[in-house]
């Protein structure tokens, strides 16, 4: 028997007035897989993640995450998921250890287990040496790894990561990828990751869903998707074949500014 999928959605839709940010998305994410949502800024990736993490109620459709309904049982969903938002979620004024302690308490990890869980999360994410430094002094990659550590403490069935490598240099990105893989290997956690870097999706993900203008255009393994377009195709070519536009053509000054400043993505 295969284990229950960690995410199941049917026709999940979110509208903002006249604008439909996510239209009838139907997706399944299996246990312990790394699932990529790819598409340019404004494709609906963040809106989809916000619905799955209970931050935004769906307009219509249904979603089960870790077996619970996001609209009707949000508290139960929140107990079982981790979330690494695109923006900062570690507090710069606290040390790495203190940030983890705050999360451990919010997620109700029993007092006698807290210290050990925090230490093993710090080890897993390679942050032992810097645990007593305030996070303000961390590099971008270290902050990301701390945020991933925060999201793992309560051993969630699934972790959602929204553009986890935006703004990181190539070596910082590689380290984050390695740690995402370690998470799945060591803890059996499923990971849903949004990205507009096609190489990231190709390298990291077991399955990829291509989003364009709020719609799920296709779902498959990176290999399947590439093979469907041509023998030497890249995921960029897949995107272009599906939507008729190149992924780089998207995103003007506003998107660039948002990426650079790390400001709020249009929800």
């Amino acid at each position: 028997m295969t284990p229950e999928p960690v995410v199941q959605t049917i026709d999940l839709t979110r509208r903002f007035g006249e604008f439909t940010a996510v239209a009838r998305a139907s997706l399944t994410v299996a246990a312990a897989e790394i699932f990529g949502l790819i598409g340019p800024n404004g494709a609906g990736k963040t809106t989809l993640i916000k619905m799955l993490t209970t931050l935004l109620p769906p307009s219509s459709g249904q979603a089960l995450v870790a077996g619970f309904d996001v609209a009707r049982q949000p508290a139960e969903v929140r107990r079982r998921i981790g979330y690494v938002p695109q923006l900062l979620s570690a507090d710069g004024e606290l040390t790495g250890y203190e940030n983890l302690l705050l999360s451990a308490r919010l997620y109700l990890i029993p007092r006698r287990e807290r210290h050990d869980r925090i230490m093993s999360a710090l080890t897993l994410m390679g942050l032992m040496e810097v645990r007593d430094r305030v996070v303000r002094s961390y590099s971008g990659g270290m902050i990301r790894r701390l945020e991933i550590a925060q999201s793992t403490l309560h051993r969630p069935a699934i972790i959602f990561m929204d553009e986890p490598t935006v703004g990181l240099d190539p070596s910082g990105r590689r380290t984050v990828w390695e740690h995402v893989r370690a998470l799945r290997r060591e803890l059996g956690t499923a990971v849903v990751i949004t990205t507009h870097y096609m190489d990231e999706a190709d390298e990291l993900c077991d399955h990829v869903a291509v989003l364009h203008a709020g719609r799920v255009e296709t779902v498959g393994t990176p290999t399947e998707l590439k093979a469907s377009v041509g023998p030497t195709a890249s995921l960029d070519d897949v995107f272009e074949a599906l939507t008729g536009t190149a992924i780089e053509a998207h995103g003007g000054y506003r998107d660039t500014q948002q990426t650079r400043l790390g400001a709020r993505e249009h929800s």
């Binding site: 309904d69 979330y83 709020r264």
Partner: protein
């Protein structure tokens, strides 16, 4: 990858006892407040800089006004009348701008972290209110020291001190949660700055903080009787001073503050999660 077209059947919610739920609630409230204490420990300068304003009020305003005879009721020296008012004032001023930091946390993303956690929204709001109380209490230490140095006969009875702590926690929590509601409505820091200024003046002057209610015109007396700051000041007057007396009764003051706090907490818990939308 396409799921079946029937509606999905969610799992049933596991049962938790009331006792476990309350203990969890307490843990989560204290987690939020504890993070604030740690931040202040890393950077205590903010607390010190905030202490300047109440000292100036006591020394400058108090120093001049104490020469006006008959301003304070029953022949109390004006400085004694003023000290609890200034304490309440600084509790208000620190708390009322709390909403700015809530908006700042939203802009950074830290708010998302709280909202995706399993902590009930009410626990988050109460935890944040307690965080603000910690700042209020640090102000109190400064004002007690300053007033003592200026010859105000303060009461250091344990019960009085304990009641003062309770009143400060209630007052800070009340005004900071009120501020959080405003933040949820205006949503940007720029707009909040303007509104914060507009709010503090009437709350402060339509209270008994720096003059007795008897001196006010009738319409202002009626407004001040609806102003929670009036009860904060009245309660503090009763417990801070050796000659302390409450006009409404200490129990009445505490009840008024508790009721107002309960109202704003319920409203804030509904509005807070919508800040991320």
């Amino acid at each position: 990858m396409t799921p079946n077209k029937h509606a999905l059947a969610p799992a049933s919610i596991p049962r938790r006892s009331v006792l476990t739920a309350s203990a969890d609630f307490g843990t989560q409230v204290l987690a939020v407040a504890d993070a604030e204490v740690r931040k202040l420990r890393h950077d205590p300068w903010e607390l010190l800089s905030r202490a300047v304003q109440p000292i100036l009020w006591l020394v400058l305003f108090g120093g001049v006004m104490t020469r006006v005879r008959g301003l304070a009721p029953g022949g109390t020296p004006y400085l004694e009348f003023l000290a609890p008012g200034i304490l309440a004032q600084s509790v208000l001023f620190v708390a009322i701008f709390y909403g700015i930091s809530a908006i700042w946390e939203r802009d950074l993303g830290v708010l998302h972290r709280y909202l995706v956690s399993p902590a009930p929204r009410v626990a988050l709001v109460i935890g944040k209110a307690l965080s603000s109380s910690i700042r209020g209490l640090s102000q109190a230490v400064v004002i007690y020291l300053c007033a003592e140095a200026m010859g105000v006969r303060l009461s250091f009875e344990p019960t009085s001190l304990l009641m003062a702590v309770l009143l400060i926690i209630l007052g800070s929590g009340l005004f900071s949660t009120f501020s959080l509601i405003i933040a949820c409505i205006v949503k940007t820091r720029e707009r909040f700055m303007g509104i914060g200024q507009v709010l503090t003046m009437p709350i402060f002057f339509a209270s008994n903080a720096i003059y007795p209610i008897d001196l006010m015109p009738g319409w202002l007396q009626r407004i001040s009787s609806l102003n929670p700051l009036t009860y904060e000041v009245d309660g503090l007057r009763a417990v801070m001073l050796q000659s302390g007396q409450s006009a409404f009764g200490l129990l009445h003051d505490v009840a008024a503050l508790l009721a107002a706090s309960a109202i704003v907490i319920v409203i804030a818990a509904r509005m807070y999660p919508r800040m991320t939308e």
